[in-house]
């Protein structure tokens, strides 16, 4: 993100401080359109798989877009689940862009045929982000399931052939792919795409595999060094601010603060609003766009009036991190990472670069489980490969009764 340093007549608070107090509207937000997914990635932050029968209707989605337009939310990051399996997906994308809400959507590539790629290439307002968690099929498919590497690269091929410029390749950095960062970059360059790497969170099914998949402390240093050397050409969603303490302030590109409930949030497929995409748990549920909270209905009401978001915009307790000289750069790390590993929210991040996370992780912990789980299989750790997806035109009648979508 570009921070424009302009003249000030008198000293004003730093932007980071302004943002921690929250804005009247999010700058952007993540909107998971469906919990339905053809894949079952082991680290899925939203535990997706089966469609939720309470999924918002086309009309309800358009009402949200109308509200986002009024609030001047500049763009939405659409995800899921696999958002393109909604039968009204393209209708909603077109509706959003026609109403001055930009769209970036994340996909595993399942629907990015050459026809779709050609349509996308014709729009200036839609960004496409293809998820890939290994630079080779072997590494990728171990996390995302058999055939998923081929599916993603076919989509990238189609986009390139259609002349779609600057697709994003989105990689969650793990213990097994951290050595492939240069390979990812080369892969992205080959498709005329931009590489985007983000942090693995212990959210959703990620909680089950985080211990085995999160980068070791040596790998975090390696990742940090790579980011400092390559950061200008690589996107990160500002997700590595917990590593800021490894070097000089400002060495990592980006805004590097937790924007949860302050400048970003998540709308889930049933209209529940959470503080961030990595926080699908009752503790971080601010409200629902459809229900009357007592002060009204709709997204704007949740954003501006929910008790949770108001609390997040208050100065936060620094706790055990208060005496650490790096607090100003990492701000205590990621709330969701702490919460889902069972660490106190006012203590160090589980991947604290000063090493304060490790002893905390070694103590007995109670890891909170989310009640929101749309996983298809009982055995969540073994991805079973792509599932053929019929398009649904009406929601299933019973809760989670539809397999797979």
């Amino acid at each position: 993100m570009t921070v424009l340093e302009t003249a000030h007549a008198q000293p004003v608070p730093r932007l980071v401080d302004q943002f921690e107090l929250g804005l009247d509207a999010p700058i952007c937000l993540t909107w998971e359109l469906t919990y339905a997914c053809n894949l079952s990635c082991v680290h899925c932050l939203s535990s997706s798989g089966k469609r939720d029968p309470r999924e918002l209707t086309t009309r309800q989605c358009k009402d949200i877009i109308d509200e986002l337009e009024r609030m001047q939310v500049f763009y939405v990051n659409i995800g899921g689940g696999e958002p393109t399996v909604r039968s009204d997906f393209w209708e909603l994308v077109d509706y959003a862009t026609a109403h001055n809400v930009g769209v970036k959507f994340s996909t595993n590539g399942v629907r990015i045929t050459s026809e779709v790629a050609a349509k996308l290439a014709a729009s200036d307002y839609v960004d496409v982000q293809i998820s890939l968690d290994g630079a080779t099929a072997e590494v990728n498919d171990a996390v995302r399931g058999p055939g998923s590497f081929a599916m993603a690269t076919r989509a990238l091929e189609n986009l390139k052939d259609a002349g779609f410029s600057d697709a994003k390749i989105s990689v969650v950095v793990t213990r097994h792919n951290v050595d492939q960062l240069d390979d990812f970059k080369a892969l992205a360059d080959g498709y005329g795409a931009t590489l985007r790497i983000t942090r693995l969170r212990p959210s959703g099914r990620g909680a089950d595999v985080w211990d085995e998949l999160h980068p070791t402390s040596a790998q975090q240093v390696q990742l940090y060094d790579w980011l400092v050397a390559n950061g200008e050409r690589v996107l990160t969603g500002d997700s590595f601010f917990h590593l800021s303490g490894l070097g000089e302030p400002g060495a990592l590109a980006g805004l590097n603060l937790c924007g949860a409930g302050r400048v970003v949030c998540l709308i889930d497929p049933v209209g529940d609003v959470y503080a961030c995409p990595f926080a699908i748990h009752d503790t971080f549920l601010a409200g629902n766009v459809l229900s009357d909270s007592g002060s009204g209905t709709g997204f704007q009401n949740v954003w501006q009036n929910s008790d949770l978001f108001r609390e997040l915009r208050e100065p936060q307790s620094v706790g055990a991190c208060g005496s650490c000289g790096h607090y100003d750069s990492c701000r205590g790390g990621c709330m969701a990472a702490k919460f889902f590993t069972g660490l106190p929210l006012d203590g160090p991040d589980p991947e604290c670069v000063q090493g304060f996370g490790e002893p905390a992780l070694a103590r007995e912990r109670d890891k909170p489980k989310s009640s929101v789980d749309h996983s298809r299989t009982a055995n969540r750790k073994t991805p079973s490969g792509p599932i053929p997806l019929p398009l649904l035109t009406v929601p299933p009648k019973k809760f989670c009764n539809e397999s797979p979508v």
Partner: protein, 103 residues
């Protein structure tokens, strides 16, 4: 290059959102976000098309010639990222920006 003696305007794909600290600017084409950190610079940016050149826009916002340097610098930064375009209105490609972390 930013020439303060030319007429400037916001790029047609740029949206301005007022904030308590100033304003947010978002460019739908380049997907870049910028921040205007006080209201004077917001007033200058919004009034650019009404003035024959950037210096006059600053003067009209109450910034005398001796105090204009930081404002002109800010406008230059905006011009560099094509948030602002001059009469001729070029549009170069810049890397997309990224906020809002997801998988």
């Amino acid at each position: 290059m930013f020439d303060p003696d030319l007429r400037w305007r916001l790029h047609p794909q740029v949206a301005v959102r007022s904030e308590s600290f100033g304003a947010l600017l978002y460019h739908f084409g380049t997907r870049k976000l910028s921040f205007l950190k006080n209201r004077t610079i917001v007033a200058v940016v919004n009034s650019l098309p009404d003035h024959p050149d950037a210096r006059s826009a600053c003067r009209a916002a109450g910034i005398d010639d001796a105090s204009q340097a930081p404002y002109l610098h800010a406008l230059g930064v905006l011009a560099q990222s094509t948030m602002l375009v001059s009469g001729q209105g070029p549009a170069a490609d810049y890397p997309a920006e990224d906020l809002g972390d997801d998988e």
